[in-house]
């Protein structure tokens, strides 16, 4: 496992007049509904434990009301937790003074918002320079320094436009450039692409993935869209009613859902387009048949396997070394919707 960038331990958030007192009730087993009925407090987050690895995209997903936007705002303390610990690169975020917290937000984290959060009275260039201006750099210098990020998101030539003159996708590229301009290690993206059309959303995901290959930031990405989560996430945590119900490798979540809620959740996805052959291969010996890359999805390999005489293929890594094999049976089993209890005798991975 790679280095842990952000570690969240035993995090609780309760909204109401006396949240501190309510934490104990929840720890003693009171449910969200009871807490609301009896004490009129809302349980936002319950015993969250997540380790977010550095230099990867970690997706936190859940439906509306699951607490995902609340959770991401704890990482830069836009929301104060009721109980728990948050560590970022070894620093205890919760013990920071106001001034330390400002420094932390200026240099260590940056954020992209669902509704962009741009400043409509400023030009595109001024918006992108904003994080640097807050750090105390003069506007002209900040504009100069941040200009390369404008170019990187494909907005060269739009410096003097106002946000309202741009389309939604372009506005969010401004938001992304603004977040990247401060060179912060941690990038918090709160439903960053949810307000965009499907096609533009895919474009933005591509931009993000391309940038990430080079920048290797620690990205926490919130979404309610499972396809998006599977497409960009190196790992996924699924949140329901303020609790994490499964987290880990995205392939694992699809192939081994831990409860019915997740089964329901993943039942509508196109499995042949998200399951990678690496996740279902038989390790070891090579077979007669074509070679496919480990990160290819089932859809990519099906025609090649169906054509061949013995319906088998090899799985190779980046160096074209054979690391395992797949056959039609494995693919067919992977395509079937799983139940919570794995009945298959095939063990994956």
């Amino acid at each position: 496992m790679s280095e842990i960038a952000i570690s969240i331990k035993g995090l609780y958030k309760i909204f109401g007049k006396r949240p501190k007192k309510m934490v104990q009730y929840v720890k003693d087993g009171m449910s969200k509904a009871d807490l609301l009925d009896k004490y009129n407090h809302v349980l936002g987050l319950k015993d969250i434990n997540i380790d977010i690895p550095a230099h990867q995209i970690s997706v936190i997903m859940g439906l509306s009301g699951s607490g995902k936007s609340t959770l991401i705002r704890h990482i830069n303390r836009l929301i104060e937790p009721t109980d728990g610990q948050i560590n970022a690169y070894g620093e205890d975020v919760l013990s920071m003074s106001k001034a330390e917290l400002r420094e932390f937000r200026r240099h260590k984290t940056s954020m992209v918002f669902q509704k962009f959060g741009l400043h409509v009275h400023k030009t595109v260039a001024e918006n992108v320079a904003y994080g640097l201006v807050v750090q105390g750099i003069s506007l002209n210098k900040a504009k100069e320094d941040s200009h390369k990020w404008l170019e990187r998101v494909g907005l060269d030539g739009f410096e003097d436009y106002y946000p309202a003159q741009l389309s939604g996708g372009m506005q969010q590229r401004v938001g992304l450039a603004r977040a990247l301009a401060t060179d912060a290690d941690i990038l918090l993206m709160d439903e960053a692409f949810s307000a965009l059309d499907p096609l533009i959303r895919t474009d933005m995901q591509d931009i993000l993935l391309t940038l990430q290959q080079e920048l290797k930031k620690t990205i926490v990405f919130i979404t309610h869209d499972l396809d998006e989560a599977l497409r960009i996430g190196d790992n996924i945590a699924i949140l329901r009613d303020g609790e994490v119900i499964q987290q880990g490798d995205p392939q694992n979540i699809i192939l081994k859902p831990e409860n019915d809620y997740i089964v329901d959740f993943i039942q509508d996805i196109n499995r042949s387009r998200v399951i990678r052959i690496k996740s279902i291969m038989q390790k070891g010996q090579s077979v007669k048949g074509p070679n496919f890359h480990q990160n290819d999805v089932l859809e990519d390999v099906l025609p090649g396997i169906a054509d061949g005489s013995n319906h088998e293929a090899n799985v190779v890594d980046d160096n074209d070394t054979i690391i395992g094999s797949i056959d039609l049976k494995r693919i067919a089993l992977a395509m079937a919707r799983p139940a919570v209890e794995q009945t298959s005798d095939v063990t994956y991975k």
Partner: protein
């Protein structure tokens, strides 16, 4: 059944003593501090007198040019600028030039005072719930209490003159700028004001960099309302010795001069319309970035 028929009020004697003691203690306060308070307001008086003299002594063609230029600068509209100049020419032609200049002076100074007190107050109210809870009822009182009621203590304290008139105008005209500043800041979208926090802006950076610029259209609506209300107080202010268009209006009420009252009343209306159109047009120009205006 005597109890039900007659409200159990204080006795006549008790009431008289109560009023006497309030009046007495206020007179005492006036005697002790009246002079000090008057001295405190002296700079304001000098400024008001100087500004009024400046407006009156400026040759009228220059004043007309300045009026036209200001109207153009605010509204960027030939119609508004020429309208303003024509209105002033008409006012001058009917012999109301000097009174209009006096009214302009007091309205401008009152507006400046209201802006410099009202905007910080609105900002404070937007920031603190306690401040809001304390100030809101005060604003309600200022807006609804009959002007004559607060004229009594002001006149007792400062006598008759320009400064008490100015204070009366400010009491009436202050609430809208406070309320609309608060509203404007509160209406800044959650995400627009969350972004500065997320990037580590301090309170000052968030306030001056984001919240106030985005609240400006509303703040401007507040300034507009403040000017309108200051103008509408001109007649009442003239009762306690403020020169201007209100004086002939008062005279025409007591002597039943229809034409005099009408002319001066219409002059006040003309001033109001000019101020309103210019500030509204300026406020609209401030907002143009917020819509997809591909200019």
């Amino acid at each position: 059944m005597d109890f039900l028929d007659k409200f159990p009020a204080m006795s006549r004697g008790e009431l008289r003593d109560f009023k006497k003691s309030v009046d007495g203690s206020f007179s005492e306060f006036t005697g002790e501090y009246g002079e000090a308070i008057e001295v405190f307001f002296d700079p304001l008086l000098y400024f008001l007198v100087w500004f009024e003299k400046l407006l009156i002594s400026t040759p009228w063609p220059i004043t007309l040019l300045i009026v036209g230029a200001l109207a153009w600068a605010g509204g960027r509209s030939i119609k508004i600028a020429t309208g303003a100049i024509l209105a002033f020419i008409t006012i001058g032609y009917f012999g109301m030039w000097k009174d209009t200049m006096s009214t302009l002076a007091i309205v401008s100074v009152a507006t400046l005072i209201c802006i410099s007190i009202g905007i910080p107050m609105g900002i404070l109210m937007a920031r603190s719930k306690v401040a809001q809870a304390l100030v809101t009822p005060l604003l309600d009182i200022m807006q609804t209490i009959p002007a004559f009621v607060y004229l009594i203590p002001v006149v007792m304290l400062l006598g008759i003159g320009k400064v008490p008139g100015l204070i009366a105008v400010c009491i009436y005209a202050l609430p809208p700028i406070v309320r609309l500043t608060k509203l404007g800041i509160r209406l800044v979208s959650k995400e627009a004001s969350e972004a500065p926090d997320a990037f580590g802006a301090n309170y000052r950076q968030r306030l001056f960099g984001v919240q106030i610029p985005l609240a400006l259209p509303n703040i401007f609506a507040g300034i507009n309302q403040t000017i309108m209300m200051a103008l509408s107080m001109v007649v009442i202010a003239s009762m306690i010795g403020v020169a201007g268009l209100g004086v002939p209006v008062l005279r025409s009420i007591s002597n039943q001069y229809l034409a005099l009252g009408l002319l001066n009343g219409l002059a006040i209306v003309a001033l109001a319309i000019i101020f309103d159109r210019v500030t509204q047009a300026y406020g609209k120009r401030l907002q143009k970035h917020q819509y997809g205006d591909h200019s």
